[in-house]
Each structure stands twice: as structure tokens, then as C-alpha cells.
């Protein structure tokens, strides 16, 4: 049941991600919403997410987002590995540091994925604007969680 929930959430977030991308791309901005949501899920898990789960969910996202197979699988494995490694270290980090970590991770995702799917028109402007925006976006999410109702806050 847990995985069905995750899969449906990923499909829904991916649809939203694609809808948003059609507007933001004109402003040289890419927000990897699916990747960020998955990162948040791994970060908030009580136990370590397994490599197999990360790989299969990544492959599924590749399939639904019509990108090259293996692209998201590799990035999902990498982010899961880093979050698992630093899961205890995150506890001594401030929220700002954690936001910067996830912002930079999503920038790395944007950069590498653009190098693979859009190499001929790779844009440093897009990368720079996306990095700044993604860090701000993560900070905004962290701040906004304070104002959310208790039952949502507990999940975030």
C-alpha cells in the first residue's frame, strides 16, 4: 500500500512538474519537482530507503516522464545514498544548510540532466537561474511548513 501511494504521488507530481515546466522554461528556469519531492520523501523517512527502491522508482519516473531510461534511476540512487549517509549529520545542520544542500542537489540534477537531454542547447543561464531559484524554493518550503496545519507539519 505504501508503494502504491508513492507511485500515485510520483505520477501526480510528475504531471504538475511537466505543467509547470511549460511555463518556467521560457524564463530559463527548471524546477525538478519530482526529484525534490522524492528527496523530501527519503529525507523524511524513518528508516533508510533501499537502493533497489530508489532504482525502481527512478526507472518508473523515467518511463512516465519520457526521458532516457536510467537517467532518473541514477540520480535517485545517488540522492538516496547521500541522504542515507548524512541522515544523522543533518540533525546538527540548520534548516538553511539543509535547504542549500537540497537546492544544490537539484541544481546538480538540472545540470546533469540537461547535459544528457539537451546537450546541444545547454545553457549556463538556465543552470544559474535554476540553482538560485531552487535554493530559494527549498527555503520557502521550509518556512511555509511552519504555517501549515499541525497534521501536515507532522508529515513535513
Amino acid at each position: 500500500m505504501k508503494y502504491v501511494k508513492i507511485i500515485f504521488s510520483l505520477i501526480l507530481i510528475n504531471v504538475v512538474d511537466q505543467k509547470i515546466a511549460s511555463f518556467t522554461y521560457e524564463y530559463y528556469l527548471i524546477i525538478p519537482l519530482t526529484f525534490l519531492s522524492y528527496s523530501l520523501y527519503v529525507y523524511k523517512s524513518d528508516s533508510n530507503t533501499s537502493s533497489g527502491e530508489a532504482f525502481l522508482l527512478g526507472l518508473f519516473v523515467d518511463l512516465i516522464s519520457e526521458s532516457f531510461l536510467g537517467l532518473n534511476a541514477v540520480f535517485f540512487c545517488l540522492i538516496t545514498y547521500f541522504i542515507n549517509i548524512y541522515s544523522n549529520a543533518f540533525k546538527i545542520f540548520s534548516y538553511l544548510q539543509i535547504c542549500i544542500f537540497f537546492g544544490l542537489a537539484s541544481s546538480a540534477y538540472v545540470g546533469f540532466s540537461q547535459m544528457i537531454i539537451n546537450l546541444w542547447n545547454f545553457s549556463y543561464v538556465t543552470l544559474f537561474i535554476s540553482s538560485v531559484f531552487n535554493i530559494i524554493f527549498c527555503i520557502f518550503i521550509a518556512i511555509s511548513s511552519i504555517y501549515l496545519p499541525y497534521f501536515v507539519k507532522r508529515r513535513l
Binding site: Y25, S51, N84, W120
Partner: protein
């Protein structure tokens, strides 16, 4: 509760999965090995969304239409719209492609002899991702060819009322069309005077293809606004069809000049296409 750091075995598993992912990615990029899987999933996605649409949205629409006395007018309106789209396609062949009829061996193909009025097959757009079209190198679309005979439509040319938009690369229930702007697509072009030939590669940007040539080998000057036509040398597209105008002439280095050609055809113009084998 504290999370336990990954053990050495778990780290090794991560490494194995990452390497597997990289291998899959490499094979997918270089050899399109997983195309059947992607096409299968795509077909499933299109069919299921069509089915869901039919049993949900269309039912409500029908209910709404039934309640109105204008139903007949609506149907008539839709029929007229389809007829108008068809006439655009026909006009395209008549006006821009008259040489296509007169000069070439196209008439000898048996599939074209069946009906003089419709030498091409009509196809309906089934799936097109505008995000990928605007952001990335792969410019593809999926169409359904309305045809009774079970033909393999691979390498058929696809056009709409504004001109040639691409070619079919995989044919199944839904056919995958590689657009002219796809980074891995090449189309042989020529100038109107038949003295300049080049292969235009898709740029990965909407509406732009790029011709690269060596000015030391070909000394003819190309100007902005010059019109380029298909040369027919690739065997997929007929010759003398207008492809686009030179938008920019960019000198990369003394031996390389890039011609940015703005395509005259827009794949987003209509959801109805013509499919033909040259």
C-alpha cells in the same frame, strides 16, 4: 529515532545499481535499445487516457449535448471543421507540390493509385509533449494513421498544411514521428538554383534546423532570407518542397559556417497530418 548509516554491503548495492543505471542510460542513448518498451508504455498511456476520456469526459459531454437542441449543429460544425482541415492538406499538395504530381515517379506506387483524390493517408495526432519540444533535443510526436490496410509506415514523410514536419521512425498502432528539428534528424536541402546543397541537422530548438558547410570548399554566398528546398537526395522527402528561410549566417571558424534555417512548417499548427511515401 536515529537512522543507521549504510553498511559496506548496502554501499556496494548502491554502487551496483548506479552502474546498472549508467549502463541502461548509455544503451538507451546510443542504440535506442529500449524503444519497444517506451513505445509500449506510450501506447498504453495513450490508449488508457483515450479510454478514460471516453468513459468519463465524453459521457458528460454527450449528456450535455443531448440536453441541448443544438446537437445537430455541433456535429455539423465538427464535420465541417474536419472537411476544412482535409481541404487544407489537399491544397497543400496542389499548391506547393504540383511538381510532386507532375514530375516524379510517385504515381507509380500502387498505394497511390487507389484514389487519385487522396494520394496520402490521413493521420491524427495522439501524443505530443510541448515541454520536450521547447526544452530538449528530442522532438518527437505520436500519430495514429487512419488506414484500413496494415502497412508498415516506417520512413513515410509526414506533413501538415504548413509543410513537411518530419518522418515516421517507428510504426505500430501509433507511429512515432521524428520532427525535422530533432537533434538526430538530417534533411538534405538545396537552394532554388540547384547550386548549393547541404544536410540540415535538427537544432533541438523549435522551428530551427542548421546547415553546416565549409566556405573554403563551397564559395557561394548564402544570404539571410534565402529560401531552401528539399533536395530529395535522402530518399525520404520529395525534392523542391520549401523547407524554410535562412534566419542567421554564423561563422564558427574560417572553415565552418552554420546556416540557421527557420522552418516554414509548424508541427503545432494542426492535429491532422498527411502521411505519404515518396
Amino acid at each position: 529515532m536515529a537512522r543507521i548509516s549504510p553498511t559496506r554491503g548496502q554501499k556496494l548495492l548502491f554502487l551496483i545499481y548506479i552502474l546498472t543505471g549508467i549502463c541502461i542510460l548509455y544503451f538507451d542513448i546510443t542504440s535506442n535499445s529500449f524503444q519497444f518498451l517506451k513505445n509500449g508504455f506510450k501506447s498504453f498511456k495513450i490508449s488508457s487516457s483515450y479510454f478514460l476520456n471516453q468513459i468519463t469526459v465524453e459521457q458528460f459531454k454527450n449528456l450535455k449535448e443531448r440536453s441541448k437542441s443544438k446537437k445537430f449543429l455541433l456535429e455539423e460544425n465538427e464535420n465541417l471543421k474536419d472537411a476544412l482541415d482535409l481541404s487544407y492538406l489537399n491544397n497543400y499538395l496542389i499548391t506547393k507540390e504540383n511538381k510532386f504530381y507532375k514530375d516524379h515517379d510517385i504515381i507509380k506506387y500502387p498505394s497511390l493509385d487507389k484514389s487519385a483524390q487522396s494520394p496520402f493517408k490521413i493521420a491524427q495526432l495522439r501524443s505530443f509533449d510541448p515541454n520536450t519540444f521547447n526544452c530538449c533535443d528530442r522532438h518527437r510526436m505520436f500519430i495514429e494513421i487512419i488506414s484500413d490496410d496494415e502497412n508498415n509506415f516506417k520512413e513515410f514523410m509526414v506533413f501538415n498544411s504548413s509543410g513537411i514536419i518530419g518522418q515516421i521512425i517507428h510504426s505500430n498502432k501509433y507511429s512515432e514521428v521524428m520532427l525535422l528539428t530533432d537533434i538526430s534528424h538530417y534533411i538534405p536541402l538545396k537552394s532554388i538554383t540547384n547550386d548549393f546543397f547541404c544536410n540540415a541537422r535538427g537544432s533541438g530548438r523549435p522551428g530551427i534546423v542548421i546547415c553546416t558547410y565549409n566556405p573554403l570548399v563551397d564559395t557561394r554566398e548564402v544570404e539571410v532570407g534565402q529560401i531552401f528546398y528539399s533536395s530529395g537526395l535522402g530518399g525520404i522527402f520529395p525534392k523542391d518542397i520549401e523547407i524554410g528561410k535562412v534566419n542567421k549566417v554564423i561563422q564558427i571558424d574560417p572553415t565552418t559556417i552554420n546556416l540557421e534555417i527557420k522552418l516554414s512548417a509548424n508541427p503545432l499548427k494542426s492535429d491532422l497530418f498527411g502521411v505519404i511515401r515518396y
